[in-house]
Every structure is written in structure tokens, then in C-alpha cells.
């Protein structure tokens, strides 16, 4: 069976529909982004003829370094926050009785099924100068009445953690559920403190889940557009917003393509990192070697 090198007719027939569809509408367009970045723009918002380095030069725009830096640090901080909240949640879920576990899992999944825009909008009204969170914080004397909670990087971080946290909880919980919790008891019986056991036995045991959680949050947030656009304001702008602006406001597709190519390369880095981690360690779950 493994000696056969040529695909059979049945295999070709079953593979062709999805293969061709994705080649045509995923691979070709992705390559096209890199090609269009070297095209001139035309005055009607289209793509001109010939080749130019104009869009590469446009990447030297003095406002870009700040936006790119913000995109990177907001993504990293949001990812760290999501994973930091997801690990104890996954741990508590894995330890909970089965009936509770199902309920909590359902409660974590429901936000995933509810409209993304609705959830972002809910935060916009909460953080609004007349909104509930603002009035509450002012009443408690925690913020000055003139402080704005909306339209800054803090709001982007808060709302991003809200929308992306389920994506960190689900893979980490999937790993925690498979983890044999008796190993923690064993560690404690051997004299390890709770915290030590958690750190040296539980965390390495769910490392693959944590890795997946990091990727599931980090990559979409790097390309985040809606959240910064609705609650970020100019001081919370991220790369995704700049790309949309080049497309819809400036109508300069080649410049937008240049930025998109940059974002594509930025997304590749964590993917390559994860791949490297997996191949370097071979089998990341050291727990598997235990009886």
C-alpha cells in the first residue's frame, strides 16, 4: 500500500474539489498580495500596469513604526493575559465534577457562537462616558469624571481579551482534561508544595495545549481590525486598521497589499516558532514517558 506512488482515480476525484477550490481562492490570492505590492496604483482605486517599488517606499511612512510596534505589543500582552486566565480556568474545569464541567464548558462556548460585533458593541456602551462601568468607577472614586475609558489602547486590550479568551480556554482545557490529575497528588505525596507541583508537573503536562492556545489568540489578534476600529480610536490603531484605511479611504490597493504582505510575514514568525518548538523537543509531553 505504501509502495504505491501514483494516486488512484478515486483519490484524485475525492481530492480535486477542495484542492482546486483552495488553490484558486486561497493560494493564488495570497501570492497575488505579494505581487500587487509591486504594482502602481491607478487613480480609480484599481491596480495599474507595470512594476514599481512605490509601495515598498510607502512602508517608510513615519507613522508606521509606532503602529507596527503597538500591533506587536498589544497582541503579545493580550495573548499573555488570555493564557494566564485560561490556565487556572482549565485547571478548575478539569478538576470539577463532570456535571459542572459540562455546564462551564457550555458557558465558555456560548460567547463563541454569539455575534462578535454584538459583544464588541456591548463593551462600547459599557465604557461609554455615560456607560455603566464609567459611572461605577467614578462612584467608587477610582477614576476622575473626565477620564475617558473608550478610544485608547487599554480598551483595545480589555475587549480583545473578552473576545479571544474562549480560544485560549478551549485548547488548554482539552489538554488539561487529558492530564492525569493523580500525578499532582503523587507529586504532593513526594513532598512537593501545591504551587511547585502545579508549575513543574501540571504546566509541562499541558504544554501542547498552551502552545495551541497561544497560536489561537496571537495570530488573529495580530490581524485584528474590528476591535481597535470600534473601541481604539486613533491612539489604539493597529496594522489591520491601517490596511483597511488604505483600501477603503485612500483607495490605494498596492499600498494596502504592501502592508498586508508585512502582516503575513509577521504571522509566519509565531507559526515557525511553534513548529521549531515541536520538532526540537520531539515529544513535548514528557508526562507520556511516566507510567
Amino acid at each position: 500500500m505504501s509502495g504505491r506512488t501514483r494516486a488512484s482515480g478515486a483519490e484524485l476525484a475525492a481530492t480535486a474539489p477542495s484542492f482546486l477550490w483552495l488553490a484558486l481562492f486561497f493560494v493564488v490570492p495570497t501570492l497575488l498580495v505579494f505581487a500587487v505590492a509591486f504594482r502602481p496604483s491607478d487613480p480609480y482605486g484599481g491596480i495599474g500596469a507595470g512594476w514599481t517599488l512605490e509601495s515598498l517606499r510607502a512602508l517608510g511612512n513615519p507613522s508606521y513604526p509606532a503602529i507596527i510596534w503597538r500591533t506587536v505589543w498589544v497582541s503579545v500582552v493580550a495573548t499573555v493575559l488570555c493564557v494566564a486566565l485560561a490556565i487556572p480556568t482549565a485547571y478548575a474545569m478539569a478538576r470539577a465534577p463532570v456535571r459542572w464541567r459540562r455546564t462551564i464548558l457550555l458557558l465558555v462556548v456560548i460567547p463563541f457562537w454569539t455575534s462578535f460585533l454584538v459583544r464588541v458593541f456591548a463593551w462600547k456602551t459599557l465604557l461609554h462616558p455615560d456607560g455603566l462601568v464609567k459611572s461605577l468607577l467614578v462612584a467608587l472614586g477610582l477614576v476622575q469624571p473626565e477620564t475617558t475609558l473608550l478610544y485608547n489602547v487599554g480598551a483595545v486590550l480589555l475587549v480583545t481579551v473578552h473576545t479571544d479568551l474562549p480560544f485560549a480556554i478551549l485548547p488548554i482545557y482539552a489538554a488539561a482534561e487529558k492530564f492525569d490529575l493523580r500525578l499532582l497528588e503523587a507529586a504532593r505525596d513526594l513532598g512537593a508544595g501545591s504551587w511547585y507541583a502545579f508549575r513543574r508537573v501540571f504546566l509541562p503536562g499541558i504544554s501542547r495545549g498552551i502552545q495551541n492556545g497561544v497560536l489561537m489568540v496571537l495570530i488573529p489578534v495580530l490581524g485584528s481590525y474590528v476591535v481597535p476600529d470600534i473601541v481604539g480610536g486613533p491612539s489604539g490603531e493597529m496594522l489591520g486598521g491601517t490596511i483597511a484605511q488604505r483600501v477603503f479611504v485612500d483607495r490605494n490597493l498596492p499600498n494596502a497589499a504592501g502592508l498586508a504582505a508585512l502582516l503575513a510575514l509577521a504571522v509566519l514568525l509565531p507559526l515557525i516558532g511553534a513548529l521549531w518548538l515541536q520538532t526540537r523537543r520531539g515529544r513535548p509531553l514528557r508526562m507520556e514517558e511516566l507510567p
Binding site: L12, S18, L22, M93, L107, T125
Partner: protein, 266 residues
């Protein structure tokens, strides 16, 4: 002992963090105050006004039209892909897997951008057709992954047994494969429908005049419209979602028994 409670407290905090904004939004949709600063009495006025908003209903019609066709197309393509990935393990399938997996790790905005480049380069008119193509492209991968996960438990000898008993390819597909894969296909279809009807970013890039979907409509309402109307619309959408989740949970729970019963020759 107190340390052991920390994970439970974090979990409770996370759930409050998930649901508090939603709860406030639902309450606000019944608030007579236009800006929602404080409670000015119960009203259904916003819901009544919502009924008169023609544009919203037109965009809902577009969304339903697109979501149903996208679900159908991506279920067919995704299930075929999952079947091929499961059945054969050669080099072609390695490339096929990479191709199916990649769209899952690409940010929406890149996918929207690249498809816009394709449509502009080809001179295609942006509209419902381009939205359909764009959404099928990302839904196929999700459906394929969900069905593939179900196939892991699939015992291929059932197919061989059917063939030994003289069943043709079509009979095997219709009488053996489809019934066994139905729960996976349904789950994949539900996911595709939800992703399609909720998609904003990719649709935003490839939509044209007259092809406004519900999320595009909501987005422009968030930017320029009146908050209480969005609250009312959001509450209706949340109610539909909760209902759908509860019903699908019930269906999934009820399916476990017949799934086992389907092993008998039908």
C-alpha cells in the same frame, strides 16, 4: 487550602467577564433612556422601531441567502476533503492537508485583502457572488476539520463489508457512509452557518453595493446609528443563538443512542 480556591475564583471571574456586558446590553434594550445612562423605565419602543427598519430586514435576507448556500457548498467540499484526507495517506494528501489547514491560521483581514486582490485583478463585480466565494473558502476548512475529527472513530471495515455484500459505490455512500457521518456533517454545517452569518471582516472586503449582510449593517449602525436600536437587534440575535445552542445540545445528547443503534444492518 486558600490557594486551591484561586482557580475556581478565576473561573467565576471569567464567566462574569463573559456575561456581564451581554446582560447589561439586554437590559438596556428595554430602557426608555436613549443614551442608556440610567434607567428611565421599561419600554418595547426600540423593538417596535426595529420592525420598521427596512434596511435591516433586507440585510438579514442577504445574510440568510448567503449562509444557506455557503453551508451547502462548504459541507459538500469539506466532507469530500475530510474523506480523502482520512482514506489516503500519500504525498498528495500531505499537500492537501496543508492546503486545508492553512486558512485556519490566517488572520481574516489577510484573507479578505487577498480575495479582494483576486477579484479586482480579474475584474469581477463585487456583490453576493464574491461574498459566497470568499465565505466558502474559509468554511471548507472548518467543515473538513470537524468531519475529519469524527472520521477518526470511523471503522472502514464497515465499508468493505458492505462492498463484500455486493453494494456499489453509490449505495455504500448513501446507505453506509452518510448515516454514520451525519452527526459530524451536521456539526460542520452548523459551524459553517454560524461562521457565515457572523462574518464581518472578510465580507466587508469583498462586498459590493446592494450586497449588505447583517454584520455589515450592524457595523455601520455601530459607527453611525442609534445605540438602543442595536441593543434591541442584538438581544434578538442573542436569543436566537441561545435557543440554537440549547436545541443543538439536546439533539447531540439525543443522538448518542441512535448512533449506536445504526450499527445494525439497515
Amino acid at each position: 487550602m486558600s490557594r486551591n480556591r484561586l482557580p475556581i475564583l478565576v473561573t467565576l471571574g471569567v464567566l462574569v467577564f463573559f456575561y456581564l456586558p451581554i446582560a447589561v446590553l439586554v437590559a438596556q434594550s428595554f430602557n426608555a433612556s436613549r443614551y442608556g445612562g440610567h434607567w428611565e423605565g421599561f419600554t418595547l419602543a426600540w423593538y417596535a422601531r426595529l420592525l420598521r427598519e427596512r434596511e435591516i430586514w433586507r440585510s438579514l435576507r442577504n445574510s440568510l441567502l448567503i449562509a444557506s448556500t455557503v453551508t451547502l457548498a462548504s459541507v459538500v467540499l469539506g466532507t469530500t476533503a475530510a474523506f480523502a484526507l482520512h482514506r489516503w495517506k500519500g504525498r498528495l494528501q500531505q499537500a492537501h492537508y496543508a492546503l486545508v489547514y492553512s486558512p485556519l491560521v490566517v488572520p481574516d483581514i489577510l484573507m479578505g485583502m487577498s480575495l479582494l486582490m483576486l477579484f479586482v485583478s480579474l475584474g469581477v463585480r463585487l456583490g453576493l457572488g464574491t461574498i459566497f466565494v470568499a465565505q466558502v473558502t474559509f468554511c471548507v476548512s472548518y467543515v473538513a476539520m470537524v468531519v475529519l475529527a469524527r472520521l477518526q472513530y470511523f471503522d472502514y471495515t464497515v465499508v468493505e463489508a458492505a462492498q463484500d455484500l455486493g453494494a456499489g459505490w453509490w449505495t455504500v455512500a448513501r446507505r453506509v457512509l452518510l448515516p454514520l457521518l451525519a452527526p459530524g456533517i451536521a456539526a460542520g454545517g452548523l459551524l459553517a452557518f454560524t461562521l457565515s452569518i457572523d462574518d464581518f471582516v472578510i465580507t466587508f472586503f469583498v462586498a459590493g453595493p446592494g450586497s449588505t449582510t447583517l454584520p455589515l449593517r450592524i457595523y455601520s449602525m455601530i459607527k453611525f446609528g442609534s445605540p438602543p436600536l442595536i441593543n434591541a437587534l442584538s438581544t434578538i440575535m442573542l436569543a436566537v443563538t441561545f435557543l440554537a445552542v440549547v436545541v443543538s445540545q439536546r439533539l447531540a445528547a439525543g443522538k448518542e443512542v441512535p448512533a449506536r443503534a445504526s450499527n445494525h444492518p439497515g
